[in-house]
Subunit: 373 residues, 2 copies
């Protein structure tokens, strides 16, 4: 023997210069998937087009009626609730844009070896459930409570640590109403699909995906800060592995455009005809409402204001923007960038961190405008 | 200028020795996605877990009521049918396992540079629609008809050729009833999702995915063999680019197992505890019903019969199989292989072709059995 469970893990590492994607990154890319960018045409992402990132396996829930969500720890009254009981609470539906904290990782140099997202790890859904603060009020956090820990049913190993997927929120966030955190049991009006956390999941509007614990089975109130793997080891902004690092929290502003025209199958280069091209896309920020969107058609030299639609009452969802481009024959690079009301912007050159988290580098879409017909 | 539309394409090529996946392959891998193998637990694949391969973009269908399916060419009476009109025909529902013709491509040496599937480009759905033979009888193929061409609304460039996605079937297949080809308007009892061909698609049970034309808008009967790009250039089994090659048609037998235990996030290595491990999976063949499934727990040295479930009346769907494994501590490789009633089997060493088509190499799943607790 001699081999231990820790040995099945590969350590965190950076790809070498020019190193293409390896079989481990490919195995993640074929399991998880992004939003095909043309699906940004829908306000609410249809089932199967919303991005999915699963750390371990999608748990097998044989009997939803037997599922229990427990609320434990530093509370006056522990709770144990079935999905059916949760449906008896007043329901709240919130439209939320979710984005993986590792979105953009595969474009970094050097590339952190992990799930290799380009820019498409995003999606928007109507989530229905019970506000977390309602459940925590019923359970009653006792004095000294600081963190609330959420445990999912997905189980695996990561860098040698066997674990259930587990993340925490500070008590003021968990009991707050801006954003209002949900324990959700429905997506777009239907039951949660297996890959989106059936039967119960957390939805934390404005936060990156690592906070959105799926297959939620336990909520524990702690009187000490939570230091689990996904809180203290993973999902930290670090330059060096020894740093404590800053936690990944709210989604940085990002705008993406739907690549116009039609693509080449393999290069994905776009082809348009000369004339007016309606360019559109979405913009979002978890830090403050989006304030402005600008488009460049010359690879970031000049920037032009795009028309930004109102949020139609959906503060936590992406907003549609549009721009009319007068395309002339030749090669072009389209880009778009968002600024939010707190002054957060998107960089033209990518800040780098070891985990490849919280990237919001400006998107670049090469487009070939053909000669007139 | 000087640049032409053909120049946006990258030519077909093979990866060099040790060459990792490039940005173009990654762009395809993040758009398209496979079946997370644990989803083989479901007889019918839930929405969003079925594999998806889109050559170009998912078309934007603004008004389904305005969609028309035309039946043209060498027919006595041309047809033009709306999705609503198609729903007035007697409906047929067939459970079908679909698999991409390129499944397994990324495991080939040398690797054809294209959509980089490992083994997971598969899924099973209940498809509802009108038998194609009913529509072709109504239109009446005229004497001399040989091929029936299906045109989708997805448009793009591929190796320099601008095209709508277009494939054909020989007339006897198109008008036959074994398999019965469907013009489908529903998947698993609901409307087709955009990425699965909304509002109409072809379903050809037993054939690889390239035949399953999505966003179907035209059916043309020809009196000469169809020689379009996707028929004569792509989807051919060739050793050399100059060969005419053999067409890719029926799905070769394949069995896959659900990786047991739990995974490491990055290496995807599986961990199980010692003792009896229930191993299960699915097996299918488009060429003849699956006749036997065997499992190996020692990397293909010894093979043991698995228990194969009956097809429950679903000839064109995968069948569940199971096997009890007595796991002992240490490293193991699990494999499974299927044989169909026509004697087709799965190779232990991969035959190679330039396009990476119709692979059915035996799956290998490394498993670490931990020491007793």
């Amino acid at each position: 023997m001699g081999r231990r469970i820790a040995d099945v893990s590969t350590p965190a590492r950076l790809a070498g210069p020019g190193e293409g994607l390896g079989p481990d990154e490919l195995a993640l890319a074929t399991r998880n998937h992004g939003l095909p960018l043309e699906a940004m045409r829908y306000d609410v992402t249809p089932p199967g087009l919303h991005y999915v990132l699963t750390h371990y396996d999608i748990p097998h829930v044989l009997d939803e009626a037997a599922w229990r969500l427990t609320v434990n720890g530093r509370v006056r009254r522990a709770l144990s609730l079935s999905p059916a009981q949760l449906r008896t609470y007043p329901a709240v539906t919130t439209r939320v844009t979710l984005e993986c904290a590792g979105n953009g990782r595969a474009l970094l140099t050097p590339r952190p070896v992990s799930q290799p997202w380009l820019v498409e790890a995003v999606g928007t859904a109507d989530w229905t459930g019970v506000p977390l603060r309602v459940l925590l009020r019923e359970a009653g956090a006792r004095p000294g409570a600081v963190d609330v820990v959420f445990t999912g049913a997905d189980h695996g190993v990561e860098r040698g640590v066997e674990q259930d997927y587990r993340r925490s929120l500070p008590l003021p966030i968990a009991t707050g109403d801006d954003p209002e955190v949900l324990v959700a049991y429905a997506m777009n009006g239907g039951p949660l699909p297996p890959q989106h956390g059936s039967p119960l999941r957390l939805v934390v509007p404005g936060w990156y995906g690592m906070a959105q614990v799926k297959w939620l089975r336990d909520i524990t109130v702690l009187d000490t800060p939570f230091t689990g793997f996904q809180q203290s080891v993973a999902y930290r902004i670090r330059q060096d592995p020894e740093e404590v690092g800053e936690p990944v929290t709210l989604i940085a502003p990002r705008a993406l455009l739907i690549p116009p025209g039609f693509p080449d199958f393999m290069s994905r280069t776009r082809v348009v005809a000369p004339g007016t091209v309606a360019v559109e896309g979405r913009a979002w920020s978890g830090r403050a409402p989006v304030a402005a969107v600008e488009v460049s058609t010359d690879d970031g030299q000049a920037w032009h204001p795009a028309e930004l639609e109102p949020d139609h009452g959906h503060r936590w969802a992406w907003r549609r923007w549009s721009f009319l481009w007068s395309a002339v024959p030749g090669d072009h690079v389209l880009s778009v960038r968002a600024r939010d009301g707190a002054g957060n912007t998107q960089p033209a050159e990518q800040p780098w961190n070891r985990g490849g988290f919280a990237n919001n580098l400006v998107q670049r879409v090469p487009v070939f405008c053909r000669a007139p017909a």
